[in-house]
């Protein structure tokens, strides 16, 4: 509770929370209230500019309502971001906890793998991995998590190693606690803050990655709405309708900026000492 109050005192963090909350509420509650379907084609009303013909944000190249598609795309993005975050956090905590706790060879092997993966351009990994599965939301969640777990792993590894030598851990060890007990009951609870920070920032990163993959054509497939794919479509119609390119980008921006603000704020709120230094 203290942490939350500290978080709300940071102006950017509370603004970020509001942005994400508004977006999440809008894309859950609004679509049923709107008279359009994200896939409904209407060739008589193509390229309508915003605020015309009953379409608040206009229509696209085949007359589909832009607002409804944006909301559906945003919902997909948020869901993908959240699922990828859960998956990468769990993997990262397990691997990082293990290597930080045991050190030695397990750690050396993992770090070598992480270093090598960081050598690949992210887009290369995303695109080649994407070609293995059926294009769609589950595949994206999988590949984004495959790329994102390392960050969590590194943080957890570092934190666990730092705490490993502290008195309270040694005391528990001396009392004969098992390794699993020490890791789950003593170490992990003490680094929840750090994990929450990385995870929040990872949701933002996952949303960006989804946008990149879908923009390059390997993500969510048409006609299903996705913010990245909408930007790809809009590229051809910059002359008749620049709104089609501007709006999806703004929605991505709201989500990712909001999450980044919250993440940065959490970093300060969780560990006030670090905040004063940074």
């Amino acid at each position: 509770m203290h942490t939350f109050r500290r978080l709300m005192k940071i102006r950017t963090a509370s603004a970020g929370l509001v942005m994400v909350a508004v977006l999440a509420v809008a894309c859950t509650l609004l679509p049923p209230l709107l008279p359009y379907d994200p896939l409904e084609i209407d060739l008589h009303h193509r390229f309508l500019p915003p605020l015309s013909g009953g379409h608040v944000l206009g229509t696209d190249e085949i007359g589909r309502d832009t607002l409804v598609r944006l909301l559906a795309g945003a919902r997909t993005s948020l869901l993908i971001g959240l699922s990828a975050m859960v998956l990468s956090t769990v993997t990262g905590c397990l691997t990082g906890g293990l290597t930080g706790f045991h050190g030695g060879w397990t750690r050396r092997v993992l770090m070598r793998i992480v270093d090598s993966v960081l050598c690949f351009p992210t887009i290369f990994l995303l695109l080649t991995l994407a070609s293995f599965g059926q294009p769609g939301a589950p595949t994206i969640v999988g590949i984004v998590s495959l790329v994102a777990w390392m960050e969590v792993s590194r943080v957890v590894d570092g934190q666990v190693r730092a705490l490993r030598g502290r008195e309270f851990v040694i005391a528990v060890e001396a009392m004969g606690a098992s390794g699993v007990h020490m890791l789950l009951r003593e170490l992990l609870p003490n680094i929840t803050g750090a994990i929450i920070v990385v995870s929040t920032l990872n949701v933002a990163r996952a949303i960006l990655m989804e946008a990149y993959v879908s923009y390059l054509g390997n993500g969510i497939q048409p006609p299903q709405p996705s913010l990245g794919a909408m930007l790809n479509d809009a590229q051809e119609y910059l002359r008749p309708d620049p709104w089609l390119a501007i709006l999806p980008g703004l929605v991505i921006a709201i989500a990712v900026i909001g999450l980044n603000f919250v993440g940065d704020g959490l970093r300060l709120a969780v560990d006030p000492r670090q905040g004063r230094r940074a």
Partner: protein
């Protein structure tokens, strides 16, 4: 020193080996077939396809293919492109120039603007400009590069008609510097946006950290001029973390160039890479992958060397 250098070299070789095996497996096992481009031609028979497969060296077991490829790599024969039969190194060097011009301009721009923003913010912490720039850098980092590309094209090329929307020079025209710079401006700015934000955040933190040190207070107490403190004491010490960032930015810039080159149809190595992935042009894709992996590992070694130059404590001979 020699010992750390050797162990670092060993680490680099291990990393490159892992990268090459993983990359090779990923590419070859991914669905899709480099022969697809031939299979579509009329009158193509299965026997002919078999001959082509043999000539491409795709009919031997995968581990053997890998060994043949590595052997070639080590003696400087990186294979030939499946698409136009040009040697891979020729293809890569043919596209490298354009990317270096783009990424070079972008990183100069990003370093200069970003570092200035960061220093300004750190020296005036808590001021309105500082807050504004902190928020701005989060915003820049949160928006996909290609969106800026699309918006810039739509504004400066389509709406205003000031700048070309893509390519490296006007089609059919003779080469002129002005024309080239006009084509370079938009993609370079777009590519620079993200790294500018990173530079600004990073510099701000590095400088702020140094400003809090005791020796800065001592320097002030000695009555040194603010200017001298700023350049001699603060910046020199803030340089260290900034050098690390310069090394880390190398692969990031290449990744960014991939997308920027696609948006602006810039004939560089990033677009070549995406094309070769699409065509399953394994030799070219692997070549670029290894090239950028070497660059990335090399970048970290250069970083360490620069570190030693900037920080006398790390120089050879001292324990």
């Amino acid at each position: 020193m020699t010992e750390t250098f050797v162990s670092r070299l060993v680490r680099m070789v291990v990393t490159l080996a892992i990268v090459s095996v993983t990359g090779f497996l990923l590419l070859h096992l991914a669905p899709g077939d480099p022969l697809a481009q031939f299979a579509l031609s009329p009158g193509m028979t299965a026997t002919q396809l078999g001959v082509i497969r043999h000539q491409m060296g795709l009919d031997v077991p995968l581990p053997l293919q890998y060994l043949i490829w590595v052997k070639g790599l080590l003696v400087g024969d990186w294979g030939r492109s499946f698409r136009d039969h040009q040697p891979v190194l020729t293809v890569i060097f043919g596209h490298l120039g354009a990317t270096l011009e783009l990424a070079g301009t972008a990183s100069l721009l990003a370093t200069w603007v970003g570092a200035s923003m960061g220093m300004y913010g750190a020296f005036r912490q808590g001021s309105r400009t500082d807050t504004l720039m902190t928020v701005l850098s989060v915003v820049l980092l949160s928006i996909p590069t290609f969106w800026f590309g699309l918006v810039f094209i739509s504004l400066f090329s389509v709406r205003l008609g000031w700048l070309p929307s893509g390519n490296i020079h006007a089609v059919g025209g003779a080469f002129s510097l002005g024309d080239y710079l006009r084509h370079l401006l938009l993609p370079a700015v777009v590519l620079a946006l993200g790294s500018t934000a990173i530079w600004s955040r990073y510099t701000r933190n590095a400088v702020a950290e140094v400003l809090g040190q005791d020796y800065i207070r001592t320097a002030r107490a000695k009555g040194l001029s603010p200017r001298r403190i700023r350049y001699r004491h603060v910046l020199r010490n803030a340089l260290l973390p900034m050098i690390t960032l310069a090394g880390l930015q190398l692969p990031t810039l290449l990744s960014g160039a991939l997308v920027t080159e696609t948006v602006f149809t810039w004939p560089g190595i990033g677009r070549l890479f995406l094309d070769s992935l699409e065509y399953r042009d394994y030799p070219v894709a692997m070549g670029i992958l290894m090239f950028s992996a070497v660059l990335a590992t090399f970048g970290s070694i250069v970083t360490d060397a620069l570190y030693a130059v900037a920080d006398p404590r790390l120089r050879a001979g001292r324990q």
